[in-house]
Symmetry: C2
Subunit: 250 residues, 2 copies
Protein backbone atom coordinates (compact mmCIF):
# COMPACT_ATOMS: atom_id res chain seq x y z
CA UNK A 1 0.00 0.00 0.00
CA UNK A 2 1.26 3.45 -0.88
CA UNK A 3 1.95 6.02 1.80
CA UNK A 4 1.22 9.65 1.00
CA UNK A 5 4.61 10.98 0.02
CA UNK A 6 3.86 13.68 -2.50
CA UNK A 7 0.94 16.06 -2.76
CA UNK A 8 -0.88 16.04 -6.08
CA UNK A 9 -1.81 17.98 -9.15
CA UNK A 10 -5.10 16.55 -10.38
CA UNK A 11 -5.98 16.98 -14.04
CA UNK A 12 -9.71 16.56 -14.52
CA UNK A 13 -11.18 16.71 -17.99
CA UNK A 14 -12.13 14.87 -21.16
CA UNK A 15 -10.12 13.05 -23.83
CA UNK A 16 -7.78 16.01 -24.24
CA UNK A 17 -6.78 15.56 -20.60
CA UNK A 18 -6.74 11.76 -20.85
CA UNK A 19 -4.30 11.93 -23.77
CA UNK A 20 -2.04 14.12 -21.64
CA UNK A 21 0.11 11.05 -20.95
CA UNK A 22 1.09 10.68 -24.60
CA UNK A 23 4.55 11.82 -25.73
CA UNK A 24 4.71 15.57 -25.28
CA UNK A 25 1.32 15.63 -23.54
CA UNK A 26 0.60 18.13 -20.80
CA UNK A 27 0.36 15.48 -18.05
CA UNK A 28 3.71 13.97 -18.97
CA UNK A 29 5.33 17.41 -19.11
CA UNK A 30 3.96 18.35 -15.69
CA UNK A 31 4.96 15.01 -14.15
CA UNK A 32 8.50 15.56 -15.42
CA UNK A 33 9.02 19.07 -14.06
CA UNK A 34 7.24 18.25 -10.78
CA UNK A 35 9.25 15.05 -10.34
CA UNK A 36 10.08 14.45 -6.63
CA UNK A 37 7.66 17.29 -5.76
CA UNK A 38 4.03 16.58 -6.75
CA UNK A 39 2.37 13.51 -8.28
CA UNK A 40 0.23 14.16 -11.33
CA UNK A 41 -3.10 12.33 -11.16
CA UNK A 42 -4.66 12.18 -14.61
CA UNK A 43 -8.45 11.97 -14.30
CA UNK A 44 -9.20 12.53 -17.99
CA UNK A 45 -12.27 10.74 -19.33
CA UNK A 46 -12.66 10.60 -23.09
CA UNK A 47 -16.07 11.68 -24.32
CA UNK A 48 -17.31 13.05 -20.99
CA UNK A 49 -19.12 16.36 -20.67
CA UNK A 50 -19.59 18.45 -17.51
CA UNK A 51 -22.95 16.83 -16.76
CA UNK A 52 -21.33 13.41 -16.34
CA UNK A 53 -18.19 14.91 -14.81
CA UNK A 54 -19.96 16.12 -11.67
CA UNK A 55 -20.69 12.65 -10.19
CA UNK A 56 -17.17 11.56 -11.21
CA UNK A 57 -15.42 14.48 -9.51
CA UNK A 58 -17.45 13.79 -6.37
CA UNK A 59 -15.77 10.36 -6.32
CA UNK A 60 -12.28 11.68 -7.12
CA UNK A 61 -12.31 14.05 -4.14
CA UNK A 62 -12.03 12.87 -0.54
CA UNK A 63 -14.95 13.90 1.65
CA UNK A 64 -14.31 15.51 5.01
CA UNK A 65 -14.35 12.17 6.81
CA UNK A 66 -11.63 10.74 4.55
CA UNK A 67 -9.57 13.93 4.18
CA UNK A 68 -7.22 13.26 7.14
CA UNK A 69 -5.93 10.17 5.30
CA UNK A 70 -5.97 11.58 1.76
CA UNK A 71 -3.31 13.12 -0.47
CA UNK A 72 -3.57 16.89 -0.74
CA UNK A 73 -4.56 18.26 -4.13
CA UNK A 74 -2.46 21.40 -4.41
CA UNK A 75 -3.67 22.23 -7.92
CA UNK A 76 -6.92 21.03 -9.50
CA UNK A 77 -7.05 21.65 -13.23
CA UNK A 78 -10.55 21.42 -14.73
CA UNK A 79 -10.71 21.29 -18.51
CA UNK A 80 -14.02 20.57 -20.23
CA UNK A 81 -16.03 22.03 -23.05
CA UNK A 82 -14.88 20.09 -26.10
CA UNK A 83 -17.75 17.60 -25.74
CA UNK A 84 -20.30 19.91 -24.16
CA UNK A 85 -19.88 22.02 -27.33
CA UNK A 86 -21.02 19.31 -29.73
CA UNK A 87 -24.03 20.27 -31.82
CA UNK A 88 -27.38 19.96 -30.06
CA UNK A 89 -28.33 16.65 -31.72
CA UNK A 90 -25.28 14.95 -30.15
CA UNK A 91 -25.75 12.84 -26.99
CA UNK A 92 -22.72 14.68 -25.55
CA UNK A 93 -24.19 18.17 -26.01
CA UNK A 94 -24.75 20.34 -22.95
CA UNK A 95 -26.43 23.72 -23.55
CA UNK A 96 -24.13 26.68 -22.89
CA UNK A 97 -25.92 28.08 -19.78
CA UNK A 98 -25.94 24.59 -18.26
CA UNK A 99 -22.25 24.14 -19.15
CA UNK A 100 -21.39 27.36 -17.32
CA UNK A 101 -23.49 26.31 -14.33
CA UNK A 102 -21.88 22.85 -14.29
CA UNK A 103 -18.38 24.33 -14.48
CA UNK A 104 -19.12 26.57 -11.51
CA UNK A 105 -20.50 23.56 -9.67
CA UNK A 106 -17.28 21.59 -10.32
CA UNK A 107 -15.26 24.47 -8.86
CA UNK A 108 -17.58 24.77 -5.89
CA UNK A 109 -17.14 21.12 -5.00
CA UNK A 110 -13.76 22.12 -3.55
CA UNK A 111 -14.36 25.82 -3.00
CA UNK A 112 -17.69 26.03 -1.22
CA UNK A 113 -17.54 25.68 2.59
CA UNK A 114 -20.86 23.82 2.35
CA UNK A 115 -19.40 21.11 0.10
CA UNK A 116 -18.49 17.76 1.69
CA UNK A 117 -15.30 17.97 -0.46
CA UNK A 118 -14.37 21.50 0.69
CA UNK A 119 -10.62 22.01 0.42
CA UNK A 120 -9.62 25.65 0.83
CA UNK A 121 -5.93 24.90 0.21
CA UNK A 122 -6.60 23.53 -3.30
CA UNK A 123 -5.97 26.04 -6.10
CA UNK A 124 -8.40 25.55 -8.95
CA UNK A 125 -7.40 26.40 -12.50
CA UNK A 126 -9.90 26.26 -15.36
CA UNK A 127 -8.77 25.72 -18.94
CA UNK A 128 -10.79 26.76 -21.97
CA UNK A 129 -11.37 24.14 -24.69
CA UNK A 130 -9.05 24.48 -27.68
CA UNK A 131 -10.45 26.07 -30.82
CA UNK A 132 -12.04 23.70 -33.29
CA UNK A 133 -10.77 23.31 -36.84
CA UNK A 134 -13.86 22.25 -38.78
CA UNK A 135 -11.73 21.74 -41.93
CA UNK A 136 -10.04 18.80 -40.19
CA UNK A 137 -13.13 17.07 -38.76
CA UNK A 138 -13.88 13.81 -40.54
CA UNK A 139 -17.08 13.27 -42.47
CA UNK A 140 -19.75 11.60 -40.37
CA UNK A 141 -22.68 9.38 -41.19
CA UNK A 142 -25.02 11.23 -41.42
CA UNK A 143 -22.52 13.68 -42.85
CA UNK A 144 -22.93 16.56 -40.42
CA UNK A 145 -20.27 18.49 -38.57
CA UNK A 146 -20.33 17.34 -34.91
CA UNK A 147 -18.72 20.53 -33.64
CA UNK A 148 -18.15 23.99 -35.07
CA UNK A 149 -15.53 26.69 -34.65
CA UNK A 150 -18.10 29.26 -33.55
CA UNK A 151 -19.83 27.12 -30.94
CA UNK A 152 -16.57 25.99 -29.33
CA UNK A 153 -15.54 29.64 -29.07
CA UNK A 154 -18.74 30.36 -27.11
CA UNK A 155 -17.94 27.53 -24.69
CA UNK A 156 -14.41 28.89 -24.23
CA UNK A 157 -16.00 32.23 -23.30
CA UNK A 158 -18.30 30.30 -20.95
CA UNK A 159 -15.29 28.88 -19.08
CA UNK A 160 -13.93 32.39 -18.62
CA UNK A 161 -17.32 33.48 -17.27
CA UNK A 162 -17.35 30.56 -14.79
CA UNK A 163 -13.80 31.40 -13.70
CA UNK A 164 -14.70 35.03 -13.08
CA UNK A 165 -17.82 34.04 -11.13
CA UNK A 166 -15.91 31.64 -8.88
CA UNK A 167 -12.75 33.80 -8.71
CA UNK A 168 -10.36 31.10 -9.93
CA UNK A 169 -7.54 31.24 -12.47
CA UNK A 170 -8.28 30.56 -16.10
CA UNK A 171 -5.87 29.40 -18.78
CA UNK A 172 -7.21 30.53 -22.13
CA UNK A 173 -6.00 27.74 -24.38
CA UNK A 174 -8.58 28.69 -27.00
CA UNK A 175 -6.95 32.07 -27.53
CA UNK A 176 -3.38 30.79 -27.13
CA UNK A 177 -3.78 28.26 -29.95
CA UNK A 178 -5.82 30.64 -32.09
CA UNK A 179 -3.07 33.24 -31.84
CA UNK A 180 -0.29 30.67 -32.36
CA UNK A 181 -2.05 29.68 -35.60
CA UNK A 182 -2.09 33.29 -36.79
CA UNK A 183 -5.86 33.56 -36.19
CA UNK A 184 -6.50 31.25 -39.13
CA UNK A 185 -8.75 28.22 -38.69
CA UNK A 186 -7.08 26.04 -41.32
CA UNK A 187 -3.59 26.79 -39.92
CA UNK A 188 -4.58 25.22 -36.63
CA UNK A 189 -3.75 21.82 -38.15
CA UNK A 190 -0.22 22.51 -36.87
CA UNK A 191 -1.60 22.14 -33.32
CA UNK A 192 -4.63 19.86 -33.72
CA UNK A 193 -4.48 16.26 -34.91
CA UNK A 194 -8.08 15.87 -36.06
CA UNK A 195 -9.41 19.36 -35.60
CA UNK A 196 -10.35 18.61 -31.97
CA UNK A 197 -7.51 16.78 -30.19
CA UNK A 198 -4.03 18.15 -29.64
CA UNK A 199 -0.74 17.30 -31.29
CA UNK A 200 2.40 17.57 -29.13
CA UNK A 201 2.74 21.10 -30.57
CA UNK A 202 -0.71 21.91 -29.21
CA UNK A 203 0.15 20.49 -25.78
CA UNK A 204 3.33 22.58 -25.82
CA UNK A 205 1.15 25.70 -26.09
CA UNK A 206 -1.10 24.42 -23.28
CA UNK A 207 1.88 23.65 -21.04
CA UNK A 208 3.49 27.04 -21.66
CA UNK A 209 0.24 28.92 -21.04
CA UNK A 210 -0.57 26.90 -17.92
CA UNK A 211 2.92 27.37 -16.44
CA UNK A 212 2.69 31.11 -17.13
CA UNK A 213 -0.53 31.23 -15.09
CA UNK A 214 1.03 29.18 -12.28
CA UNK A 215 4.08 31.46 -12.27
CA UNK A 216 2.00 34.65 -12.24
CA UNK A 217 -0.92 33.63 -10.02
CA UNK A 218 0.36 30.71 -7.90
CA UNK A 219 4.10 31.35 -7.80
CA UNK A 220 4.55 29.38 -4.57
CA UNK A 221 3.42 26.27 -6.45
CA UNK A 222 5.70 26.73 -9.46
CA UNK A 223 8.13 23.82 -9.57
CA UNK A 224 11.11 26.17 -9.50
CA UNK A 225 9.97 27.42 -6.10
CA UNK A 226 9.50 24.01 -4.52
CA UNK A 227 12.17 21.81 -2.97
CA UNK A 228 12.15 18.04 -3.29
CA UNK A 229 10.37 15.76 -0.86
CA UNK A 230 13.54 13.69 -0.35
CA UNK A 231 17.02 15.27 -0.20
CA UNK A 232 19.64 15.20 -2.89
CA UNK A 233 21.83 12.09 -2.62
CA UNK A 234 24.92 14.08 -1.68
CA UNK A 235 23.17 15.35 1.45
CA UNK A 236 22.53 11.83 2.80
CA UNK A 237 24.40 11.05 6.02
CA UNK A 238 26.41 7.98 5.07
CA UNK A 239 27.02 6.93 8.67
CA UNK A 240 23.31 6.97 9.56
CA UNK A 241 21.18 7.49 6.44
CA UNK A 242 17.71 7.05 8.00
CA UNK A 243 17.28 10.41 9.80
CA UNK A 244 18.81 12.32 6.87
CA UNK A 245 16.32 10.99 4.29
CA UNK A 246 13.11 11.82 6.12
CA UNK A 247 10.42 13.24 3.89
CA UNK A 248 10.06 17.02 3.94
CA UNK A 249 6.71 18.82 3.55
CA UNK A 250 6.91 21.13 0.54
Amino acid sequence: MAAIIQDAIMLFGDSITQAGWTDGGVGARLANVYSRKFDVLNRGLAGYNTEWAIPVLEQCLANQQDQPHAAKIRILVIWFGANDATISSSPQHVPLPKFIENTKRLVNLVQSPESPYYSPSTRVILITPPPLNSHQRPARDPPVADRTFEITKEYAEGVKEAAAATKVSVVDVWTAIWKAAGENEASMSAYLSDGLHLKPEGYAVVYKTLMKTIKEEHADLHYENLGSVFPSWNLVDRADPGPSVQRIEI
Copy 2:
Protein backbone atom coordinates in the same frame (compact mmCIF):
# COMPACT_ATOMS: atom_id res chain seq x y z
CA MET B 1 -7.94 16.07 -1.10
CA ALA B 2 -7.72 13.16 -3.48
CA ALA B 3 -9.89 10.08 -3.02
CA ILE B 4 -8.38 6.74 -3.91
CA ILE B 5 -9.70 6.12 -7.37
CA GLN B 6 -7.00 4.09 -9.05
CA ASP B 7 -4.62 1.50 -7.65
CA ALA B 8 -0.94 2.16 -8.32
CA ILE B 9 2.18 0.97 -10.01
CA MET B 10 5.08 2.27 -7.93
CA LEU B 11 8.44 2.70 -9.64
CA PHE B 12 11.20 2.78 -7.04
CA GLY B 13 14.77 3.35 -8.10
CA ASP B 14 17.55 5.82 -8.86
CA SER B 15 18.01 8.50 -11.54
CA ILE B 16 17.13 6.04 -14.29
CA THR B 17 13.70 5.66 -12.69
CA GLN B 18 13.41 9.37 -11.90
CA ALA B 19 14.01 10.23 -15.57
CA GLY B 20 11.21 7.85 -16.50
CA TRP B 21 8.91 10.88 -16.88
CA THR B 22 10.96 12.29 -19.76
CA ASP B 23 9.69 11.88 -23.34
CA GLY B 24 9.68 8.18 -24.16
CA GLY B 25 10.62 7.28 -20.57
CA VAL B 26 9.33 4.11 -18.98
CA GLY B 27 7.11 5.91 -16.44
CA ALA B 28 5.43 8.00 -19.10
CA ARG B 29 4.88 4.93 -21.29
CA LEU B 30 3.32 2.99 -18.41
CA ALA B 31 1.13 5.92 -17.35
CA ASN B 32 -0.16 6.14 -20.91
CA VAL B 33 -1.10 2.48 -21.38
CA TYR B 34 -2.48 2.21 -17.83
CA SER B 35 -4.51 5.41 -18.24
CA ARG B 36 -7.90 5.14 -16.42
CA LYS B 37 -6.63 1.90 -14.83
CA PHE B 38 -3.60 2.41 -12.53
CA ASP B 39 -1.74 5.54 -11.45
CA VAL B 40 2.03 5.45 -11.89
CA LEU B 41 3.87 6.77 -8.83
CA ASN B 42 7.44 7.61 -9.73
CA ARG B 43 9.67 7.28 -6.68
CA GLY B 44 12.97 7.59 -8.51
CA LEU B 45 15.79 9.28 -6.57
CA ALA B 46 18.84 10.35 -8.55
CA GLY B 47 22.11 9.21 -7.05
CA TYR B 48 20.59 6.89 -4.43
CA ASN B 49 21.92 3.42 -3.72
CA THR B 50 20.12 0.56 -1.96
CA GLU B 51 21.56 1.53 1.42
CA TRP B 52 19.80 4.89 1.34
CA ALA B 53 16.77 3.43 -0.44
CA ILE B 54 15.71 1.26 2.49
CA PRO B 55 14.68 4.12 4.83
CA VAL B 56 13.01 5.84 1.87
CA LEU B 57 10.93 2.81 0.84
CA GLU B 58 9.82 2.43 4.47
CA GLN B 59 8.30 5.90 4.12
CA CYS B 60 6.78 5.26 0.68
CA LEU B 61 4.86 2.21 1.92
CA ALA B 62 1.84 2.44 4.22
CA ASN B 63 2.21 0.53 7.47
CA GLN B 64 -0.52 -1.80 8.63
CA GLN B 65 -2.25 0.92 10.63
CA ASP B 66 -2.49 3.21 7.59
CA GLN B 67 -3.17 0.50 5.02
CA PRO B 68 -6.99 0.67 5.24
CA HIS B 69 -6.83 4.26 3.96
CA ALA B 70 -4.00 3.81 1.45
CA ALA B 71 -3.88 3.23 -2.30
CA LYS B 72 -3.08 -0.35 -3.25
CA ILE B 73 0.26 -0.90 -4.94
CA ARG B 74 -0.54 -3.59 -7.49
CA ILE B 75 2.98 -3.63 -8.95
CA LEU B 76 6.14 -2.47 -7.18
CA VAL B 77 9.09 -2.12 -9.54
CA ILE B 78 12.48 -1.94 -7.78
CA TRP B 79 15.38 -0.84 -9.94
CA PHE B 80 18.74 -0.12 -8.34
CA GLY B 81 22.35 -1.02 -8.94
CA ALA B 82 23.64 1.75 -11.18
CA ASN B 83 24.95 3.71 -8.18
CA ASP B 84 25.74 0.77 -5.89
CA ALA B 85 28.07 -0.38 -8.69
CA THR B 86 30.27 2.70 -8.61
CA ILE B 87 33.92 1.95 -7.90
CA SER B 88 34.77 1.39 -4.23
CA SER B 89 36.22 4.88 -3.70
CA SER B 90 32.87 6.47 -4.57
CA PRO B 91 30.55 7.65 -1.76
CA GLN B 92 27.71 5.87 -3.59
CA HIS B 93 29.43 2.47 -3.68
CA VAL B 94 27.78 -0.48 -1.94
CA PRO B 95 29.74 -3.76 -1.92
CA LEU B 96 28.08 -6.50 -4.00
CA PRO B 97 27.10 -8.84 -1.11
CA LYS B 98 25.55 -5.90 0.74
CA PHE B 99 23.77 -4.79 -2.46
CA ILE B 100 22.20 -8.24 -2.80
CA GLU B 101 21.23 -8.27 0.88
CA ASN B 102 19.73 -4.76 0.59
CA THR B 103 17.76 -5.72 -2.53
CA LYS B 104 16.29 -8.71 -0.72
CA ARG B 105 15.45 -6.46 2.22
CA LEU B 106 13.61 -4.02 -0.08
CA VAL B 107 11.54 -6.91 -1.46
CA ASN B 108 10.87 -8.25 2.03
CA LEU B 109 9.49 -4.91 3.19
CA VAL B 110 6.32 -5.85 1.29
CA GLN B 111 6.73 -9.61 1.13
CA SER B 112 7.60 -10.68 4.65
CA PRO B 113 4.61 -11.30 6.97
CA GLU B 114 6.75 -9.87 9.79
CA SER B 115 7.15 -6.51 8.01
CA PRO B 116 4.97 -3.57 9.15
CA TYR B 117 4.52 -2.87 5.41
CA TYR B 118 3.46 -6.42 4.52
CA SER B 119 1.27 -6.38 1.43
CA PRO B 120 0.75 -9.86 -0.01
CA SER B 121 -1.29 -8.56 -2.95
CA THR B 122 1.59 -6.42 -4.26
CA ARG B 123 3.58 -8.04 -7.09
CA VAL B 124 7.23 -7.13 -6.90
CA ILE B 125 9.33 -6.90 -10.05
CA LEU B 126 13.09 -6.33 -9.89
CA ILE B 127 14.96 -4.75 -12.80
CA THR B 128 18.67 -5.21 -13.41
CA PRO B 129 20.77 -2.07 -13.98
CA PRO B 130 21.52 -1.36 -17.63
CA PRO B 131 24.98 -2.26 -18.93
CA LEU B 132 27.57 0.47 -18.64
CA ASN B 133 29.33 1.91 -21.67
CA SER B 134 32.69 3.05 -20.29
CA HIS B 135 33.58 4.60 -23.66
CA GLN B 136 30.83 7.17 -23.11
CA ARG B 137 31.57 8.10 -19.49
CA PRO B 138 32.97 11.62 -19.14
CA ALA B 139 36.46 12.24 -17.82
CA ARG B 140 36.51 12.89 -14.09
CA ASP B 141 38.82 14.79 -11.79
CA PRO B 142 40.74 12.76 -10.69
CA PRO B 143 40.41 11.16 -14.10
CA VAL B 144 39.19 7.73 -13.08
CA ALA B 145 36.26 5.79 -14.44
CA ASP B 146 33.46 6.00 -11.84
CA ARG B 147 31.82 2.80 -13.06
CA THR B 148 32.93 -0.10 -15.24
CA PHE B 149 31.23 -2.46 -17.62
CA GLU B 150 32.39 -5.53 -15.70
CA ILE B 151 31.32 -4.36 -12.24
CA THR B 152 27.85 -3.29 -13.41
CA LYS B 153 27.42 -6.73 -14.94
CA GLU B 154 28.12 -8.32 -11.55
CA TYR B 155 25.47 -6.12 -9.93
CA ALA B 156 22.98 -7.12 -12.63
CA GLU B 157 23.71 -10.75 -11.73
CA GLY B 158 23.23 -9.77 -8.08
CA VAL B 159 19.71 -8.53 -8.81
CA LYS B 160 18.89 -11.87 -10.43
CA GLU B 161 20.22 -13.66 -7.35
CA ALA B 162 18.05 -11.50 -5.07
CA ALA B 163 15.00 -12.16 -7.28
CA ALA B 164 15.56 -15.91 -7.16
CA ALA B 165 16.03 -15.85 -3.37
CA THR B 166 12.82 -13.87 -2.81
CA LYS B 167 10.88 -15.60 -5.61
CA VAL B 168 9.91 -12.43 -7.46
CA SER B 169 9.97 -11.57 -11.15
CA VAL B 170 13.09 -10.06 -12.66
CA VAL B 171 13.37 -7.99 -15.81
CA ASP B 172 16.88 -8.37 -17.15
CA VAL B 173 17.44 -4.98 -18.73
CA TRP B 174 21.20 -5.51 -18.64
CA THR B 175 20.94 -8.44 -21.05
CA ALA B 176 18.14 -6.89 -23.15
CA ILE B 177 20.21 -3.78 -23.93
CA TRP B 178 23.41 -5.77 -24.34
CA LYS B 179 21.74 -7.99 -26.91
CA ALA B 180 20.01 -5.07 -28.64
CA ALA B 181 23.46 -3.50 -29.06
CA GLY B 182 24.81 -6.66 -30.68
CA GLU B 183 26.85 -7.51 -27.56
CA ASN B 184 29.19 -4.61 -28.31
CA GLU B 185 29.95 -2.08 -25.56
CA ALA B 186 30.58 0.88 -27.87
CA SER B 187 27.35 0.21 -29.82
CA MET B 188 25.36 0.76 -26.65
CA SER B 189 25.54 4.50 -27.33
CA ALA B 190 22.36 3.92 -29.36
CA TYR B 191 20.56 3.22 -26.05
CA LEU B 192 22.58 5.15 -23.45
CA SER B 193 22.95 8.94 -23.37
CA ASP B 194 26.11 9.17 -21.29
CA GLY B 195 27.07 5.53 -20.90
CA LEU B 196 24.87 5.21 -17.78
CA HIS B 197 21.47 6.85 -18.34
CA LEU B 198 18.94 5.81 -20.95
CA LYS B 199 17.92 7.44 -24.19
CA PRO B 200 14.28 6.99 -25.30
CA GLU B 201 15.56 4.02 -27.34
CA GLY B 202 16.90 2.47 -24.12
CA TYR B 203 13.62 3.07 -22.30
CA ALA B 204 11.81 1.45 -25.25
CA VAL B 205 13.81 -1.73 -24.57
CA VAL B 206 13.02 -1.49 -20.85
CA TYR B 207 9.32 -0.98 -21.51
CA LYS B 208 9.14 -3.87 -23.95
CA THR B 209 11.00 -6.23 -21.62
CA LEU B 210 8.96 -5.18 -18.59
CA MET B 211 5.64 -5.61 -20.43
CA LYS B 212 6.74 -9.05 -21.62
CA THR B 213 7.34 -10.06 -17.98
CA ILE B 214 3.98 -8.62 -16.91
CA LYS B 215 2.25 -10.46 -19.76
CA GLU B 216 3.96 -13.77 -18.99
CA GLU B 217 4.09 -13.70 -15.20
CA HIS B 218 1.33 -11.29 -14.11
CA ALA B 219 -1.11 -11.48 -17.02
CA ASP B 220 -4.05 -10.37 -14.86
CA LEU B 221 -2.28 -7.04 -14.37
CA HIS B 222 -1.47 -6.45 -18.04
CA TYR B 223 -3.32 -3.34 -19.17
CA GLU B 224 -5.05 -5.27 -21.96
CA ASN B 225 -6.68 -7.47 -19.33
CA LEU B 226 -7.96 -4.64 -17.15
CA GLY B 227 -11.12 -2.61 -17.63
CA SER B 228 -11.33 1.08 -16.84
CA VAL B 229 -12.24 2.43 -13.44
CA PHE B 230 -14.93 4.66 -14.96
CA PRO B 231 -17.14 3.52 -17.86
CA SER B 232 -16.86 4.58 -21.46
CA TRP B 233 -18.86 7.75 -22.14
CA ASN B 234 -21.35 5.96 -24.39
CA LEU B 235 -22.40 3.74 -21.47
CA VAL B 236 -23.39 6.69 -19.28
CA ASP B 237 -27.11 6.84 -18.50
CA ARG B 238 -28.10 10.26 -19.80
CA ALA B 239 -31.32 10.38 -17.80
CA ASP B 240 -29.54 9.67 -14.49
CA PRO B 241 -25.74 9.76 -14.92
CA GLY B 242 -24.69 9.35 -11.26
CA PRO B 243 -25.36 5.65 -10.70
CA SER B 244 -23.95 4.73 -14.12
CA VAL B 245 -20.54 6.38 -13.51
CA GLN B 246 -19.73 4.72 -10.21
CA ARG B 247 -16.12 3.63 -9.93
CA ILE B 248 -15.47 -0.04 -10.61
CA GLU B 249 -12.77 -2.06 -8.80
CA ILE B 250 -10.38 -3.48 -11.38
